[in-house]
């Protein structure tokens, strides 16, 4: 399982670096993020895996795609050829396969036993939250200030200039 996910991650990262069109690069990066999320599940980091999908594949990549489409810098291209449609179909199948294998991975073994094992286990939301809100409380608060500064900075930088 590790080698399948790792291979797909490296492959899609290579596609991201070599691809000409920014939108395709962003899509490949999403595949890499999903593969890394699978890695985190393999390493028992369930909370980080969920955050990886929500924050990276969800929020950050949507922001990237939004800016790419806003800037509209990609060169014009013609109608989709059969070859391209096949390629996209293959990509969709690949992403679907990753999802299925992740579901299989999580669902392996009897569910109650796994829940039992992970309640006071390693890398769950409860365990990470306990550390985060006791030992690492100050870094957590500083991170919130960092996010506030980022929000203010982004709004000021992206605001249209009114002269």
């Amino acid at each position: 399982m590790f080698y399948i996910i790792g291979g797909v991650a490296v492959l899609s990262a290579l596609i991201m670096v070599t691809n000409k069109k920014p939108v395709s690069a962003a899509m490949s990066l999403i595949v890499t993020m999903l593969c890394l999320s699978g890695m985190y599940v393999l390493l028992d980091a369930h909370l980080i895996a969920a955050l990886q999908i929500i924050v990276y594949a969800g929020a950050i990549m949507v922001l990237f795609l939004f800016v790419i489409m806003l800037l509209n810098i990609q060169e014009k291209e013609g109608r989709l050829s059969g070859h391209k449609i096949f390629l996209q179909f293959a990509w969709i199948m690949l992403v679907g396969y990753i999802f299925i294998s992740m579901v299989k991975l999580i669902g392996g073994g009897s569910l109650p036993a796994r829940i039992e094992e992970s309640i006071n286990g390693f890398g769950t939301t409860k365990a990470v939250g306990e550390i985060l809100f006791t030992d690492f409380l100050l870094p957590f608060e500083i991170a919130s200030i960092l996010l506030l500064a980022a929000i203010v900075g982004a709004v000021i930088l992206a605001k249209a200039r009114v002269d």
């Binding site: 985190y40 390493l43 924050v55 990237f64 800016v67 982004a154």
Partner: protein, 100 residues
């Protein structure tokens, strides 16, 4: 059980791909994506060490890196938008205002 070395090697490969992308691509957006990839590779190292040392502090570090990556993406994309509004380009070779 996959040994720790394999996780570290995968992380190093991903980091190298990201670094090569930063140095070779000229589109600012793709450079940003490569930076995100490098941050992710580091995250994988943290999580792998966290698992093999049986210590969950690495998860907190990964969490903080995600926070920083989100802030960086928001501010960076705002900067790219501002540059594009002024210069009509996102090619980093054309952005040479601060070159001495």
């Amino acid at each position: 059980m996959v040994p720790l070395n394999h996780y570290l090697i995968l992380s190093a490969i991903l980091f190298t791909i990201g670094a090569v992308g930063v140095f070779t691509r000229r589109n600012a957006l793709i450079i940003y994506m490569c930076i995100e990839l490098m941050l992710n590779a580091v995250n994988l190292t943290f999580i792998a060490f966290s698992k093999f040392l049986n210590n969950m502090d690495g998860h907190i570090f990964a969490f903080m890196i995600m926070t920083v990556a989100a802030a960086e993406a928001a501010v960076g994309l705002a900067i790219i938008l501002a540059i594009f509004r002024n210069r009509e380009t996102v090619n980093v070779d054309d952005i040479n205002l601060m070159k001495g």
